[in-house]
């Protein structure tokens, strides 16, 4: 029996090989890249994932684990001649323990589902990427996903307590446990964010938090993007730690309004600040916040009057990326990070670059974290425009690194940004990463071709 026959015997009726079955798996949410896989496997239990990975290891076939395929960096792009292990059917919450405040889930569980199931116990799962209603926890773990509210609560890594992982060589390991305090090195923390290079998480233990008692969500309108950026530092300097601080520029406001009608004022810079916590505390902080925002030169302050208005504000913000599709046939989403104190400088420079390249750039970002999301708008039908957009995006990445930031805040390196790794890391650093990868996956099967640039591999 060959590889495919064995795989089909392992997963009867659940190995896709037809043309029409494979085509829709060619891309994730970054459609500029496309690769036709050899097959798509649909395991329903972790033992089946293990079996599939063992077969890949035995036959030397590369594989990519995939959830909802929402990666913006091409993280779940198939490898040519490789297998896509689609984990969507592994979407069970195995255990939800409200006393211990943990949830044990399969990797195909959608992020938002955890909070929905935990809600009757007054609990929720804090990391909230904009793709929260779609993206799966397996992917969130692989990319250490962030979200608007990670300013206060931290990224996925801060909420994963334990993992069961199928390694690229087909072994099962348990990392971490069920509490924050563990013995030995933080190996599960090490796994989170490795973008599928070190194996497939098949069981994830998550930390749940009590739902905040009260929210206070404010929209502050500014005459410029910089002024909005400046206000962010003022809020932090005033000793406040809001649940979220987000900024949207005129273009992204326009797009989000078209999609959701959230009621955003049409201004150059819009700051969304959300306070959350015990009622009295939030009420007190709200007064301080109002003073700070007024002093910061806000043209208008608008407070969400009820939960529906609050939801509308967030819905607009979280739909913003996709909504930009209404303004432009194509766009590239960037994900660079700059120190919060240099936000204004970065935004100014991005606007300059936008003019220089003659391409529109929409800005919508996690301002509190300094995590920028410039969206470079282009029309792929115009010759040379994609190349120009990529060049502009590259300049923005270099700018972030130059200002002391990072290539990515939460979308990952994937295929899209691996060429820029040498901008941020010295050859020795990259070599060390390569060595770790090789130690755990000597054949380079797990998510081959992602994160680590070929240059290093060739030179190694």
């Amino acid at each position: 029996m060959g590889f495919l026959e064995e795989l089909k015997a392992l997963l009867p009726g659940r190995v896709l090989t037809g043309e029409a079955e494979l085509a829709p798996y060619e891309s994730d949410a970054l459609t500029a890249y496309r690769k036709r896989p050899l097959a798509v496997a649909l395991p329903e239990r972790k033992e089946e994932v293990l079996g599939a990975v063992r077969l890949c290891h035995q036959y030397g076939v590369p594989f990519v684990a995939r959830g909802s395929g929402t990666s913006l960096s091409g993280g779940s792009l198939p490898v040519e001649g490789g297998v896509v292990i689609a984990l969507n059917r592994m979407n069970r919450i195995l255990r939800l323990d409200p006393k211990a405040r943990i949830a044990v889930v399969e990797p195909g569980v959608v992020n938002l589902k955890v909070s929905q199931e935990a809600a009757p116990f007054g609990l929720y799962y804090a990391p909230d990427p904009s793709s929260q209603p779609i993206s799966t926890l397996g992917g969130n773990v692989a990319f250490n996903s962030g979200g608007a509210h990670c300013l206060k609560y931290g990224m996925t890594a801060n909420h994963v307590l334990g993992l069961e992982v199928v390694t690229p060589t087909g072994e099962v390991v348990r990392l971490g446990g069920e509490s924050l305090e563990g013995v030995g090195p933080d190996l599960h923390g090490f796994f989170v964010g490795t973008e599928g290079l070190l194996g497939v998480a098949v069981e994830i233990t998550l930390r749940l938090l009590p739902k905040p008692e009260a929210y206070h969500t404010v929209l502050a309108a500014y005459p410029s993007l910089e002024a909005a950026g400046e206000a962010v530092s003022r809020v932090i300097r005033a000793g406040l730690l809001p649940g979220a601080m987000e900024i949207m520029d005129r273009l992204s406001i326009e797009a989000a309004e078209k999609a959701v009608r959230a009621g955003y004022p049409p201004v150059e810079g819009l700051l969304i600040v959300e306070l959350e916590g015990p009622k009295e505390e939030v009420a007190e902080e709200a007064l301080v916040l109002e003073g700070v925002l007024r002093e910061s030169g806000a043209l208008e302050l608008r407070v969400a009057r009820d939960e529906a208005e609050r939801q509308a504000i967030w819905k607009g913000r979280k739909a913003a990326f996709s909504a930009v599709g209404r303004l432009s046939p194509d766009y590239l989403v960037q994900d660079g990070v700059v120190p919060r104190s240099r936000l204004g400088e970065a935004l100014r420079e991005i606007q300059r670059l936008s003019r220089e390249y003659g391409l529109r750039v929409a800005n919508v970002f996690h301002a509190g974290d300094g995590n920028l999301h410039p969206l470079v708008l282009y029309d792929g039908k115009k010759p040379g425009e994609l190349e120009r957009a990529e060049a502009l995006a590259g300049e923005i990445l270099r700018l972030c690194v130059r200002l002391g930031g990072s290539l990515t805040g939460e979308h990952g390196i994937g295929v899209e940004k691996k060429g820029y790794m040498p901008e941020m890391f010295a050859p020795e650093d990259l070599l060390a990463m390569e060595e770790v990868k090789r130690a755990l996956d000597s054949q380079g099967l797990a998510n081959r071709g992602k994160v680590l640039p070929e240059v290093v591999r060739a030179g190694a």
Binding site: A20, P24, A29, S131, F321, S322, V324, G325, D330
Partner: protein, 418 residues
């Protein structure tokens, strides 16, 4: 999304399809609201996947027959349209693609006959009524037999006894001061299977100061044919309606699919001489709930005991026409407590003739919907579409009523649970 669709070669239909495909950014926001994706968890059974498949077919990279199983499984419920942040007109895309592909595809003779049979009987009450009567009479005899699913499914949806339909008068006067003069679309299968919905609609409109005209020359809206890719059949029916409803302020529809079907007339006559007229008629079409809500609803006397009603959003009201609030406002104004089921956006599996052609998926969705409605703890269920009503009733042990029926009972001072 980038594409190389030869628009010039495909003409106006190509433009419509290419425009929709361009707008898709492949973000995946459509996935969790797509009924087939929720059940099957496979990318090619998702809106985003289907858009990709249609693109590949139109570009000539993929054989139509390869893509069809997945495209055929689409319910065209348009939940993805509601969820889509980048504004992909998926409903237009799938409808146009089906029109475009029907003549190019292969169908087995038996399947062809079954489909054609449906398309030539269901939309014509005078043909469908005797058949339905026969079916209802034979149902007890046929039920225990091991029939193939495509025959079992429609039989299960037939009522045990077919109610008699009273002939329609041409004009029903408004009660009190006349606020509007509207034409009522009498529909096709609905008036045969459940004539009480039309009667209730007329009653409720009269109570609200609306004069109702039941234009005799009208025909079925043609949505069934349109969505099955039968362009000529749909056009023939639509032409009759273009003529029949020329002289009324509004055309009131009381079946979600008919309302959205008539609003799709411009698409059906794309580039044809009737396109303008189709646009004008489409603009006059209003669902019963919207018309009442806009005119200023005069509520019935409140029910004699507290009633908890779970409202089920018919896809072709909520997603295709964006109507969610109006029916709820009416029910609340009528003194009912309105409860919201989980997964409101998910189709019940009825979707026109879907439950006849894809019975397995339809059943999975029907059961899921019934469970969600039951879980609200409601006394009864209200919805704005006969298809949903029949489908849900098959899996639910609570009364399921059309919003109009429920309101009419209250105007008559009757207990809806009796």
């Amino acid at each position: 999304m980038q594409h190389q669709i030869p628009i010039q070669k495909l003409g106006k239909e190509g433009e419509v399809m290419a425009h929709a495909i361009e707008a898709c950014v492949h973000c995946g926001f459509c996935l969790p609201t797509c009924p087939t994706y929720v059940v099957l968890q496979e990318e090619m059974d998702s809106p985003r996947g289907r858009i990709f498949l249609m693109k590949e077919v139109l570009e000539g990279n993929l054989k139509l027959e390869e893509a069809l199983p997945y495209l055929d499984r689409c319910l065209a419920c348009q939940a993805c349209v509601t969820a889509c942040p980048s504004g992909v007109p998926y409903g237009e895309l799938i409808a146009t693609f089906r029109l475009w592909s029907e003549e190019k595809r292969h169908r087995f003779p038996l399947e062809r006959t079954f489909r054609l049979g449906l398309l030539r009987t269901l939309p014509y009450p005078e043909r469908f009524r005797p058949l339905a009567k026969l079916g209802a009479r034979l149902k007890p005899l046929l039920k225990p037999l091991p029939l193939p699913k495509p025959l079992k499914a429609p039989l299960a949806l037939l009522p045990d006894r077919l109610p008699e339909e009273a002939p329609y008068r041409e004009v029903y006067p408004a009660k009190g001061e006349r606020k509007a003069r509207v034409g009522i679309l009498l529909g096709c299968a609905q008036r045969v299977l459940r004539p009480s919905i039309n009667q209730a609609t007329i009653r409720v409109l009269q109570e609200n100061g609306v004069e109702v005209v039941a234009v005799p020359e009208q025909a079925c809206c043609g949505a069934l044919n349109l969505h099955a890719g039968d362009k000529e059949g749909a056009r023939a029916l639509a032409r009759k309606n273009l003529k029949a409803f020329r002289d009324v302020d509004y055309v009131v529809t009381n079946a979600a699919g008919c309302g959205s079907g008539m609003k799709e007339y411009p698409l059906l006559f794309l580039g044809e001489p009737e396109e303008e007229e189709a646009r004008a008629l489409a603009a006059k079409v209003k669902d019963l709930s919207v018309l009442l809500d806009e005119l200023g609803f005069i509520p019935p006397p409140p029910p004699s005991r507290p009633l908890r009603v779970a409202y089920h959003d018919a896809c072709h009201l909520a997603h295709a026409q964006g109507i969610r609030e109006a029916p709820r406002r009416l029910l609340k104004a009528a003194g009912l407590e309105v409860l919201e089921p989980k997964e409101w956006e998910l189709c019940c599996g009825s979707a026109g003739t879907y439950n006849l052609f894809q019975p397995e998926i339809a059943e999975a969705l029907g059961r899921r919907k019934a469970e969600n409605l039951k879980a609200t703890g409601a006394d009864l269920v209200a919805t704005g579409n006969i298809g949903c009503l029949t489908q849900i009733q098959a899996y639910l042990d609570l009364p399921v009523l059309h919003t109009a029926e429920l309101l009419a009972l209250l105007y008559e001072g009757k207990d809806p649970l009796a």
